[in-house]
Amino acid sequence: MTLELFIQYFFAGITYGSIYAIVAIGFNIIYNTTGIINFAQGEFVMLGGMISISLLPIMPLPLAIAAAVALTMLYGALLEICFIRWLDNPGVLRMVIITIGLSILTREAALHVWDESIRSLPYFVGNEISTVNVLGARVSPQVFWVIGACGLMVAFLSIFFQGTSVGRQMRACAANRKAAVLCGINTRDMVTFSFVLSAGIGALAGCVMSPITSTAYDNGTGLAIKGFTVAILGGLGNSAAAVAAGLLLGIIEAFSVSVLPLAFQDAIAIAILLIILFVRPHGLFGSGTAAGLKEF
């Protein structure tokens, strides 16, 4: 394999990988505060892309993206307040079924609003054919936007969870919900807030990736499966691990093309998910003892 081809695969890999990582982080945020997997996470990504595309004709690109992120956050809050908040001590299974239902509901609503056609945002810099030359390989400038946005979000989240009061309250919820309540933390607000936060980062990911991958009403499902694989691969609840696992899966997928037929690309993600679930259910970077204490 030439160096040029290697770099080409590598960049393709980290582009997918960053997107998977962001979806996985969205899973983790909600998992940490509620202990459940929100299967509507992929739909937040789709909504972010779709809303920004619809707003673009009436406002400049940065504003359209900001508005799309804000509206998706509002949607995340509404979902939580309408369907989850009022449940008294819901079981894991019930919550999971609810989020699957919400994902289908969102997807069907999107089909009615935007129909089945495929749209995309314009490239932030340059156009469809402009490229940056990296050691002989050619990479679209949008790839750097995706990687940059992903990196910024991870940095922002780690500062948020370590350094701010709200962030600490959310982590307290995750560590021990009863103790958090006793300390005067409103755990219900924290759950709502976790939906808002993961809707926001999902929507932003949806905007930066839209020029590369295009956006359609049913994009969310595929992303949710990949994101879920990555979250499990890294160890549920651990965002830094999700980034590592996301990049790993993306790179494996990209390089697999050189030895396996392209049609197997998606089978690889599912195969990895199964192997991890059998061999190391707490993930590559998770701790088995900690996972044993959790309900799900």
């Binding site: 495929i118 995309s120 469809e128 054919i129 991958t213 595929g222 997928e253 037929p261």
Partner: protein, 381 residues
Amino acid sequence: MKACRMMMVVLALSLAAAPAVMAETLKVGAILAVTGPAAFLGGPESRTIEMLADEVNQAGGINGKQIELIIKDSGGSPEKAISFAKQLIEEEQVVAVIGPSTSGESMAVKKLFEESRTPLLSCAAAEVIVNPVAGFVFKTPQSDSFAVRRIFMTMQEMGISRIAVLAGNTGFGKAGKEQLQAIAPTMGIEIVEAEVYDKDANDLSAVVAKMKANPDVQAVVNWSIVPAQAIVAKNMRQAGWDVPLFQSHGFGNIKYVESAGVAAEGIIFPAGRLLVADKLPADHPQKQLLTKYKADYEGKFQEQASTFGGHAYDAFIILMKAIENGGTDQQSIRDEIEKIQGLPGTAGIFSFSATDHNGLDLESFEMVTVKNGAFVPYEKQ
């Protein structure tokens, strides 16, 4: 109460009047995927034939008879298509059926129409619908093999002999890939790379890099009906790979061009002439029909006319022609369809025979390219 009674009177009157009208009508059935995953086919198809039936009826009908159109929405499901086919044949006793929209449904109902001796005019593309020929089954879209041959002919003109093939993993993609592989050796083309991608694939830069690394590849053919058509184009041009990109007739939707932006420039693909109707020479036999259909459809439904609606258009006018020429029942309509020669439709000029129930040839496809974000006829450089 009063309104209610009025309604009853009107209802009674219309019931009484119905038999008188019925005597003068000709029942035509249609089984189309108006909703569901194939709605992009069935939607334009049902709107087109409704529009045409209205037109015929307003002009006094055909041979003095009004057309009564009975459209059944199969949702793209072969099971539903079968039960609607039975209903139309046995209960409604229609003279002919237009549709189904998809190849799977058409194959599922083929035998039924053959046994009941009722003409079927399918709007689906698969070659197997009319090959081997079944006495009562016809189809209006061009066959995949015509598209493949037109592409290879263009390659021969350009001096291209070694190509890479990419295809989506849908029925359309698979059938296209098989045709490409079967026809290539007979036309002196060698396929040096072939890959199949998932229909939901949203980035193909890795596989494009792999193909680009093979210096033998002189051109790429992509065969799919999904968004990946635009993504292949973007990824190729981003990789700085400027070999010619050919697409299937599935690319004939301006939305894919919009989605690929400048990367779509120069893509070459075969298409029915509807896409380039306004750029055809004025004396072309399809020119007037195509521009009229486009203007009528777009004026009435506020959406772009598509080749799919065109397939139903063709089925309808073929049926009308057969009735006009003396077809009165199932058997005579079938016989008249086989006699039709040189009838211009949206897909091409139809000339049927006892052995050809598609009636089209290679000329039904025009090679089209993208120039400044619009479709224009491809001209040899």
